[in-house]
């Protein structure tokens, strides 16, 4: 499974949910499929996408929030998993695309390549629902089950270490930020 295939498989579910992604390949690929005003791409600050998702989920409990995270980013904020679990926002689905590498800076392997298991770490942190998937069908099923479960879920999706040819897109960071804020606060 590639990450862009996984994003494409669940794209139709993202029309009315609040989406936060990490930087690099995830942001570029989701924009390549089609940007929407309810998508925010945190193009730096590695590790904080899940914290932003928590802030949104706590501020707007009536909205479903989806975070598309990565192994390198989660490894920079493992403590954040304990904070997520502690407040257990039932409206947050936390997807971690695990390609076992820091792809956008040369593909150097992360600790998940030597056995660190982010789904087990999330479960041990107290996240009530976790899943580890490696195929497109399993990912899509786990994602739909997470949305239906109405409980905090971390899905670790093992994906190939391949990405787009470039990471800079024509959506400016501030344009994205203000559009997203306007989307979130108008309703």
């Amino acid at each position: 499974m590639t990450r862009v295939e996984a994003l494409g498989a669940v794209y139709s579910r993202l029309e009315n949910v609040v989406v936060v992604t990490i930087m690099g390949a995830v942001a570029a690929e989701l924009q390549g499929i089609g940007h929407r005003p309810n998508f925010f791409y945190l193009q730096h600050a590695m590790g904080l996408a899940s914290s932003m998702g928590l802030g949104i989920a706590l501020a707007r409990p009536e909205r479903q929030v989806v975070v598309f995270d990565g192994d390198g980013s989660v490894l920079m904020n493992l403590g954040g998993l304990t904070t997520l679990a502690r407040y257990r926002p039932r409206n947050l689905v936390h997807v971690v695309f695990d390609n076992e590498s820091l792809l956008s800076v040369g593909g150097f392997p992360t600790a998940t390549s030597t056995g660190s298991d982010l789904a087990a770490i999330a479960a041990a942190a107290g996240v009530p629902r976790t899943a580890r998937v490696a195929t497109l069908d399993d990912f899509t099923r786990a994602f739909d089950e997470a949305l239906a479960a109405h409980d905090l879920t971390t899905i670790v999706a093992k994906v190939d270490a391949v990405g787009p040819s470039k990471f800079v897109t024509d959506l400016s960071l501030l344009e994205n930020r203000f559009e997203f804020q306007r989307y979130l606060t108008r309703r």
């Binding site: 925010f40 904080l48 802030g55 706590l58 501020a59 904070t83 930020r177």
Partner: protein, 173 residues
Amino acid sequence: MSPVSTANSRLVYDALKASGVRLMSALPETWLVHLIRMAEDDPEMTLVRLAKEEEGVGISAGAHLAGVRSAMLMQNHGFLASINGIVSCAQLYRIPLLMIVSFRGEFGERDPWQTEGGGVTEDLLRALRIPFSYLDSPGHVAHRIAKAATLALSANKPVALLLCRDLMWEEAS
């Protein structure tokens, strides 16, 4: 009995509430104990206890974009631990942050381990071009917090208020 001032903690808390703050992130430190308990006891406040202060930048950013005002309670060493998030989330994306920072390590500090951070806090705030002021006397707490919150929101920038020993610590020294 802790010599941390309950009355002045209450002034700070009430001023944050009056500025519309409804979510606080916090990592405990001695001077913040009363503030954190006040947030915990307030049904109108969402208190988020952190594992590390930098998480608070992301949480405040998310809350702001979702229309909720927030404040971050941290020690100056927590500010040091948050700098990448402040620069590459809050400043990059023009997110207002209201940072209430215990200014440990200034004159009067008795804990040797706090003394290094106190010496670099103001210079780092200046280097990051973060507007800041001091809360060192009860008379100006309310209006300085109100003004700091106003600037953070109008400028879409992080601002900081340094909680000082003279305000927070009641033990005669």
